[in-house]
């Protein structure tokens, strides 16, 4: 982890080696022309310089290659000979998805190669936990990037007990990579909590759609009533409706390849009233949403242009916390 934390793509590599060698030779020659030693052993000195330049050049080339190959070598070592999965398109897509969709307060477990790839994609190194043999830190994680290397490391227990729910999946066959939510108290407890959360989401949404201050289309209404919408979005919507009439344009982003029952974590809302008023209203809503803390602070809030006009897109990070509607404690 320390190496990964220090790895900084795009850091200044210093002057190029040819320039460095040429400058060294030039300075040596300039110095030598002033002394008598160089004049006496000119041939020997030039030979030594040429040899030094050759050695330095070769060393520079070797070091450059080694530096470029380091992440791949690390991944291959971590994968235990499975293959360069971290170079695969699935790995790239998984890394991009994790960086964009996983909440910044979540701890992500990964094999060392995938951890390195995630850092290279911009995920904070402090939010990663490289898992080694036995995966002692698994219970500290919220999410795990289940690469084939992790599969080898943890075996069938991962899917069966430790992380039964897929929140996103990429690729297929042996190269498939799943992003899974960790079940800290085991699969049975997780399924029970997910089921209770789903029931609470349906119940809460049934009340939400009766609010005279919340307007939805048929599709959004159906998604609400069937309990598909993340509890953080429901709570945010109810809080916003206390101050503003809100038009819900739609919900989205359950994650590609997500298991059934994984909540939709993205919402687009539009203002009501005249176009001029709507823009100001969306700005107020944006400020209110960004003033939140902890689990109620979205990972992304952006103004987007849609066919019907401007809308505010609110996205919460994965994984969806369970039990918020039924009194789960929240730390600010």
């Amino acid at each position: 982890m320390g190496e990964q934390a220090n790895y900084r793509p795009g850091t200044n590599p210093g002057p190029p080696w040819p320039t460095l060698v040429a400058t060294t030779v030039r300075l040596w020659l300039r110095r030598g022309t002033r002394g008598t030693l160089f004049r006496r052993h000119r041939v020997a000195a030039l030979t030594v310089l040429a040899a030094t330049a050759l050695v330095a050049g070769g060393l520079a080339i070797a070091l450059t290659r080694q530096a470029g190959a380091a992440p791949a070598s690390g991944m291959e070592a971590a994968q235990g000979g499975v293959g360069p999965v971290a170079r695969s398109p699935a790995a790239g897509m998984a890394a991009t998805w994790v960086v964009r969709q996983v909440g910044r307060d979540a701890i992500v477990g990964c094999d060392p190669g995938m951890c390195r790839l995630l850092v290279a994609h911009g995920f904070p190194a402090g939010g990663l936990l490289a898992l080694g043999p036995g995966a002692p830190g698994l219970h500290l994680c919220d999410v795990i990037v289940a690469t084939p290397a992790i599969g080898k490391l943890l075996g069938g227990r991962l899917e069966r007990e430790d992380a039964p729910a897929v929140i996103a999946g990429f690729g297929s066959g042996r190269a498939r990579i799943d992003i899974r939510a960790i079940a800290p108290r085991g699969a049975t407890a997780y399924r029970g909590a997910l089921s209770a959360d789903w029931a609470a989401r349906r119940k809460a949404a049934a009340q939400l759609v009766t609010s005279p201050r919340i307007h939805t289309g048929d599709a959004a209404r159906q998604e609400l009533l069937t309990g598909k919408v993340d509890s953080r979005l429901l709570i945010t919507l109810a809080a916003l409706a206390a101050s503003y009439p809100v038009h819900v344009v739609g919900f989205g982003d359950a994650g590609p390849g997500a298991a059934a029952g994984m909540p939709l974590r993205e919402m687009e809302i539009a203002g009501t009233g005249s176009p001029a008023y709507r823009a100001a209203e969306l700005q107020h809503i944006r400020s209110s949403v960004l003033a939140q803390h902890s689990v109620f602070l979205p990972t992304h809030v952006s103004l987007v242009r849609m066919a019907g006009g401007a809308a505010l897109r609110i996205e919460f990070g994965a994984p969806s916390p369970l039990g918020l509607l039924i009194g789960r404690p929240v730390t600010q």
Binding site: L208, A291, P329, V330, T331
Partner: protein
């Protein structure tokens, strides 16, 4: 003729008065069914003063506001329509346009009571919803321990003869335990501080004992949640304030009898008065 009209109007007006004064008997159980109770406890020693805002998901009821409560105290219970609510906080005295900070969500079910508590240090303020039990145990007191000491990370509590809970971490709490009624010495023990409180636990009552910080030590705060089964809680006993929760409606029969009697007396008085006047008029004519 006028007398007949007046006599007819008396029971009618009496009926109208009764309709307005007495609670609608048929509607009362339905109203009780559609109501729960909520209160707020401030158990965060360093948090600033703030107010609590509750908004219903359905938007049917207005915003419920509970103004700031001092550390270690609990507000009185408030009746609240059932349903899902957002719980948000805002610093006391903050401008009205400052958005409240979402803190939790609570599902209020009929005839159930909840305590929303703020806990922990201000830098990591936590909000928790405790569901209260409404059923006491006949002949026993029910006691729940809540650990809210920030200074002592793990606290154990006993009543001298048996452990009531612990070691409990910050924010954790036990289930309701049956305890023999009477005076009990409750002991709380942290890693570097202890506290003892003598609490009177009456039979058929429900108590929450909260372990709090107290100037370098610990203290135990006793809350009486409810008395008897089927009776709604009436607020924190130790806060010195009574509850605002509505009590079961008394029978309207005595009031009806008094009002009917009053109406009858008024009608008899009117008749008597008219008779006297008529007699007086006849006497003048006879003269």
């Amino acid at each position: 003729m006028k007398l007949r009209v007046a006599a007819a109007l008396v029971p009618l007006s009496l009926a109208l008065v009764l309709v307005g004064a007495a609670p609608p008997a048929a509607a009362q159980p339905a109203a009780a069914q559609a109501t729960g109770w909520i209160r707020w406890g401030n158990w965060s020693p360093s948090a600033p003063d703030f107010d609590i805002y509750l908004n219903s998901f359905s938007g049917s009821s207005g915003m419920t506001v509970i103004r700031h409560v001092r550390y270690g105290h609990v507000s009185v219970y408030r009746a609240i329509p059932t349903g899902q609510y957002t719980v948000a906080m805002r610093d006391s005295g903050a401008p009205a346009n400052t958005p409240p900070t979402l803190s939790a969500s609570v599902q209020v079910t009929p005839r159930m009571a909840y305590t929303i508590v703020s806990m922990g240090p201000a830098s990591h303020l936590g909000v928790q919803v405790l569901k209260e039990t409404m059923m006491s145990s006949p002949g026993k007191a029910l006691v729940r321990i809540v650990q809210e000491s920030v200074a002592q990370h793990r606290v154990s509590v006993n009543d001298g003869s048996r452990a009531l809970g612990g070691p409990l971490e910050l924010g954790s709490y036990t289930g309701f335990l049956k305890v023999s009624p009477g005076w009990q010495a409750i002991h709380a023990t942290g890693y570097s501080a202890t506290a003892t409180k003598h609490v009177l636990l009456r039979a058929n009552t429900i108590h929450t004992l909260v372990v709090l910080d107290n100037e370098g030590g610990l203290r135990i705060h006793s809350l009486q949640d409810a008395v008897g089964s089927g009776t709604m809680p009436t607020g924190g006993a130790a806060t010195g304030l009574g509850g605002t929760a509505p009590k079961p409606g008394a029978s309207p029969a005595p009031w009806l009898a008094i009002m009917a009697g009053g109406g009858l007396l008024a009608a008899m008085g009117t008749i008597r008065l008219r008779r006297n006047r008529r007699h007086a008029a006849h006497a003048i004519i006879d003269r």
